[in-house]
Structures are given as C-alpha cells and as structure tokens.
Symmetry: C4
Subunit: 245 residues, 4 copies
C-alpha cells in the first residue's frame, strides 16, 4: 500500500474495537431512551386519566436527555460516547476523528440504533411507538431547520465541553445530556427531536419506515453538523479564549 493510505489503517485494531463498543453504547443509549418513550405510550393507553401532551413531552425529553447523559458518562473514557453519526461527522470535520474510524463509527451507530430499537420491540410486546415524524402543520422545510438548529446545538456542546480541554471536561456528559434534554423540550412536538440520523433510522428499520419525510432526519442533522462544526472552527480560528480576559 501507498504509505499515506497505509497510515489510515495504522490503528485498525483499536478502531475496530472502538467501533464495536460504539455499537454497544448506541444500543444502550437508545434502548433506555426509546424504551422510556415506548413505556410512556403504554402507560398512557392502559390507564385513566390520560396524560396531557405537556406531560408526555416532558417525559420523552427526560428519557432521551438523561439516557444520553448517563450513557455518555459511562462510555466517555472508553470511546468518547458519541452514539450519533452526526456527532461523528462533526468530529471528522474538525479533525478529532480519523476517516477510517469515522466510517466504522457510522456503521456501528446505525446498526447499534437498530439493535436498541429491536430490543425495545422484543421486550415490550407492543408495536414500536417511537418513530420521528413531523407534526401536522410543520412543513418539511421547517422540520429541516429545526433538526439543523438542534443538531448544531448538540454538536457545539460536544465540541465546547468534551473536545476542548478544561477543568469541567470530565463532566462534559452532563452538559451534553442536558443539551439534548433542552432541545427536546422545544423540538419533540414539531419533529420528534431526532438530532441524530441513527436515532431516526433504527426504529424506522424495525417498524418498516411508517412515516413519510424520513429524509428530513438525514438532511437536517447533516446540515446541523456542518453548522456546528463551522461555528466551532471560526471560534478556534479567532482564538476565542482571548475574548474573555
């Protein structure tokens, strides 16, 4: 092999091991996050009175946000705990992830999401009710923008809290999980708040792509990665740490 190509494969065993663990971590994150959403539907249909929509959205946001907080904390010192191809892509863009690892991570995260959704399906004896879809009245363009902005926020939290090294870095998973939580509080109603193509893809595979506009959850988060990574690169270029004396 050409030496430059060979260097891409320098750490291929570590890359494969890390990808295997990202598979497990993504399945872990989405098993608990999506499992909580699945449970909330079962809770709501099996008892009286039904929950209000606000209650339902708060529950979903808590499940997803705190599942990521916890999962990312447990895997933080192992693989980084990304569990999200759009985060992987942003890290590739800013140079924190090498190309081979990026590709392996994306595969691991997409298949891990399928695995997580499949376990939820298997353990709960009910059709999956965890797919992302656009609320009536939300256009595809609005959906793309909402997914773009929320994904950019999540990307920025990973870059500013985890990729940057400072005293609070070991606690980055707390801030990243709470960012997902806050974005959900806004976006669950409108788009279901994917912010992660794997989170939309996994349950869609298991349940046969029942929702139209699935593409929104690929285009929106992809643009969000670009936006978040560009903003971060600009901050670095202008040496942001000199602004706050």
């Amino acid at each position: 092999m050409h030496p430059q190509v060979a260097s891409l494969f320098d750490n291929v065993y570590e890359d494969l091991a890390a990808a295997a663990l990202e598979f497990i971590g993504t399945a872990f994150f989405l098993f608990f996050g999506l499992g909580g959403i699945q449970a909330s539907t079962a809770e709501d249909t099996s008892s009286q009175p039904p929950a209000s929509a606000i209650e339902h959205v708060l529950y979903i946001s808590t499940c997803m946000g705190f599942s990521l907080l916890v999962s990312a904390w447990l895997f933080f010192r192992v693989t980084g705990g990304l569990f999200n191809p759009n985060i992987s892509f942003a890290l590739l863009l800013v140079g924190s992830l090498k190309p081979l690892r990026f590709v392996l991570f994306c595969i691991a995260q997409l298949t891990g999401a399928i695995a997580g959704a499949a376990i939820v399906r298997g353990l709960t004896s009910a059709p999956l009710s965890v797919n992302n879809f656009l609320q009536q009245g939300t256009s595809a363009a609005q959906g793309v923008f909402i997914e773009m902005f929320t994904t950019a926020a999540l990307v920025l939290s990973v870059l500013m809290l985890a990729a940057e090294k400072h005293e609070a870095t070991p606690f980055a998973p707390i801030g990243i999980g709470l960012t997902l939580f806050v974005c959900h509080l806004f976006a669950v109603y409108y788009t279901g708040a994917a912010m992660n193509s794997a989170r939309a893809f996994g349950p869609a595979v298991i349940s046969g792509f029942p929702e139209p506009h699935h593409w929104v959850y690929w285009v929106g988060p992809f643009l969000g990665s670009l936006l978040g990574a560009s903003f971060y690169a600009t901050l670095k270029h202008y040496k942001y740490w000199r602004l706050n004396p």
Copy 2:
C-alpha cells in the same frame, strides 16, 4: 483622541467580536427557552386533556432554566455567556465589564433576543405566545418588586459563582441556570419571569408589544441589578471570606 478616551477603545476588535458572539449566544438561549414555551402552548391546544397550570409553569421553568444552564455553559469560556443586559449592567457596576463592552453587549443582547424570537416565530407557524405579562390581580408595583428580587438573585448568582474565583467556578453555569429555574417556579405565574429586559423585549418587538406594562420589565430588572450589585459590593467591602473560618 485624549489618552483616557482612547483607552476605552483599546480592545475594540475583541469587544466587537465578543459582542457578535453574545448576539449569537442570546439568540441561542432564547431560541430554545422561548421555543419550549411556544411548543408548550401548541402541545396544550392541540390535544386532550389540557395540562394543569402547575404542569404548564413547571414546563416553562424547565425550558428557561435549563436553556440558560446549557447556553451559558457552552459560551462560558467564550464571552462569559451573559445573554442579559441586566447582568451586563451589574458587571459594569462592579467593574468586571468596561463601558464600551457594556454598551456593545447591551445592543447585542437586545438584538439577539429579537433574533431568537423571530426564529421561533418562523419555525412554528403560530403567533408567538411567549410574552411577559402581569397576571390578573398582580399590580404593577408588585410586578416591579417581583422582577427586582428575582433579577437580584440572578445577578448575585453570576457574581458569587462566576465572577468570584474558586474551585466550583468552572461549574457556575449550572448554579446560574438553576437560579433562573427556581426564580421561574415562583415568578412565572405572577409576571412571566423575565429577569432580563432583553427576554421581554425580543418577543414584544416581534409580536407588536401586545401587553401593557412592558415598562415593568425594564424598571424591575434595572432595580434588581442595582440591588444585586450593591449587596455583592457590600460583601466584598467587608471581606465576606473572613466570616466563615
């Protein structure tokens, strides 16, 4: 220029860059905070049963408090993450912000709030339902005092947790965000809990100043800045760290 005047403009490029980032940060904070409130109204009107008022207030408090927690954390090492002209004013009073930067920050925070509210309006296909107003039965004087006390608490959290340097300083955004959360739990019902003239101003501009008593959200927080900064200055004057041996 007279040398003393010139010194005001010593770091004018840094000041402009910091103000541009405060614009983005304020829009970020209010996009998610106000967006969550906007979503809660949509959630409540589009489904049965409606939420209780307590549920609604808890949701609003969570959106605003945790949006600030997260936004301030992401921007903490960039601009300080103030997003609030009343915080800027308090920092001017205690000497942590120079006059030029104070003026630029206020402009950035007020226009950033307009931008945040505009994006919420554009992405949600519904009239804004996020303006601050006085609850029936709450007088303007009560409103001013409530805004004054809650803003003073927020100012004090910034001064004691972020401006003072100690081991927990890197985690100040957590305490500041939770202070906003706690103040909301009390004040949302009575005044809508601005504690920040920009937060009241932004959506009012976008929706045509629909509520009377908008001045309450300028006078109350202004007095709160004075109260919070004076209390902090008194603590420093008497060297508070000698009280707790």
Copy 3:
C-alpha cells in the same frame, strides 16, 4: 469579664455580620421556596383542569429543594448557608459552631423566615397557603418521627458533604439541596416537610398559627438534630474513612 467568658465574644463583630447575612440568606431561601408553593396554589385555583396531588407535591418538592440548592450555593462561602436552626444546633453539637454564633444564627434564621414569608404575603395578594400541617390520618407521633428522620437526613448531608473536607466539598450545596428534595418527595404529603423549625415558624407567625400541632415542627427537627449529629459523631469516633480501603 472572666477570660473564658470573654473568649466567647472574641469574634463578636464577625459573628454579628455572619448572623445578619444568615438573616438575609434565610429570607432569600424561603422567599423563593415558599413563594413557589404560594404560586402553585394560585396556579391551581385560577385555571382548569386542577392539578393532581402528585403534580402538586412534585412542584412543592422542586421549589423547596432547588431553592435551598441555589441559596446555599450562593451563600456557601459567606456564612456556610445553613438557613435552619436545626442545622445550626447540629453544628454546635459537633463543635463546628461556637455558642455565641449559634445563638445569633438561630435568632437570624427565625426572623429571616418571618421576613421571607412576609415578602411572599406582600407580593402575592393572597392569604399564605404555605403552612406545615399534619395530613388527616397522620398522628402527632408519626409526624414527630417523620420530621425527626427527614431532619436527621438533612443534618447528615450537611455534616458529610460540607463539614467534612474532600474533593466534592465545594459542591456540597448540590447534595444538600437534593437531600431536601428527596425528603420532601416522601414527607410533603404527611407533614408538609418542614425539617427546619424556622420554615414552619415564619409563615405561622405571618398567618396567626392557623394549624394545630405546630409543636411537632419543633420537637421533630430537634430530635433529628440529635440523631444526625450522634450518628456523625459515631462515624468520626470509629474513623469511618478506614472502612473503605
């Protein structure tokens, strides 16, 4: 004066200043904590549908727990942020508070609680609905035990997290506030969860002692201080840090 008596007054100016700040801090803590409870009653009576009791209790617990978390964090490096005569008493028992400061702190905390409750009353145009009382079906003896155990837990959190010095000590207010939160989730329904004689006393003074069994909130927390401080003293006596190698 006899030298031993004089030594009690060695730091009398610091003691007076610290007590004045405990007055302010206690008023701050209870203004937001009790203010949130007062707001929740107003929220519930002014709109439809009413909240469920679980919603109401969760709201109250969040107001009190997070108000203490935030207040204690802001005042932690000033006076310690006790805001509670039963905590003061426990610190006297274990030798962390000298007798004069203990007496001044108790006066400050009891009058601060009256001030906090008075401000809530003045700003909300409604009778106070924040008094502690025993739920129908809860006997006075059960009330005393519930207040004793919950106060002991709170005392233990102050002693293990704040009085003991270790890496997490600067974050003690988070753990102490969450302890109050957890104790409320259990005790609000049965006793209103005082865990602090000043918290029960302040609103009772303002509203004319409307509830029988007010004495429960003095006897229960007093016994809780004894229990918590004794357990801590036992841990220290047996050098607890040698148990976990």
Copy 4:
C-alpha cells in the same frame, strides 16, 4: 486456622462495622425511595383529579433515582454506598470486595431493606403499595431480561464511575443515581424496576409476598450482575483507555 482461611478474617472488625453501616444506609435509601412511592399512592387516592400513569411513573422514578443519588453520596466515603446485593456481587466478581465482606454486605442489605420497608409501613398508616410486580402483558421471560439489562446498566455505572479512579470519581453517586433514574423511566411500567433483589425482598417480607413472580427479581438482577461485570472485565482486559487517544 489454616493461614489462607485466616486471611479471610483479617479485617473482620472493619468488615462488621462496614456491614452495620450498609444496613443503615440501605434502610436510609429505601426508606426515602419506597416512602416516596408509598406517599404517591396516598396522594393519588385521597384527592381529585387522579394523576395520569405517566405522572405516577415519573414520580416513582424521581423518588428512587434521587434517593440513591443522595444516599450513595452521603455514604460514599464510608462504605461505598452500595445498598444492593447485586452490586456487591459484581464487586466480588471483579475483585473489589473480599468474600467475607460480600457475605456480610448481602445480609446487611437484605435486612436493611426489610427495616426500611418496615419504617415506611409504621409511619404511614396504610398497607405497603411498593412491591415489584409484572405488568399484565409482560411475561416472566421479558421481566427477567428487563431486570437483567437494567441491573447490568446500574452495575456498569458503579464500575465505570466509582470503581475506576479518575477526576469525576468523587461525583460517581450523581451518575449512579441518575442511571437508576433512567432505568426506572423505562422499567417501572413493566416490572416495577427492582434492579436490586433487596429492594424487591424488603417490602415483600413486610407485606407477605403478595405478588407472584418474586423469583424474577432474584434471577434477573443476578444475571445482570454477571453481564455487567463480564463487560467491565472485558473492557479492562483490552485496556479500554487506549482506544480513545
């Protein structure tokens, strides 16, 4: 005694003292956690309107998760704050707990759970409503798997956050408590979310084993300990810290 046998009893006094404190800590954890669940049932049956199932599950999850967060924080530097024989078993498997201490801890945790449940029963004048049971439609096999996966997550949080030494280790109780919280949000509906045989056993003893399938809460968590400890051992064997350069 044979020297190798004798060495098992080297620290027998420390082991007995630590077990006595695990007894107290487990009773503390479950008194507040189960007490909150007991209160939520009383809240719901004594007032109108009743809570939705989602509200109820969120309340239960908060009680259990935050009770562990707080209890484990208070006892973290004393005994480690395990309060769970399945955690003890995992620590035995990875070599962090010696056999004698393991046996004593299990006895302390099981009897501590009985004590905690008994105090709740005694202070609340109502039959215990805190037993784990399988939701209609959840098979025993599903229950075992749900308990296995959730327990494995809890075990992994203890091993990665508390057993491994790094900068965030003093804050491990926060992550461990939130892991219990997240697992509850999924599992409360299906199995009642024991994740701890002592938590299922204590109330069952006090209320006469009223639920069938009690064995599920022994088999599931036992398998979870094996799964969590094996995964951790694999991570260590392959030196996981080399994967994330």
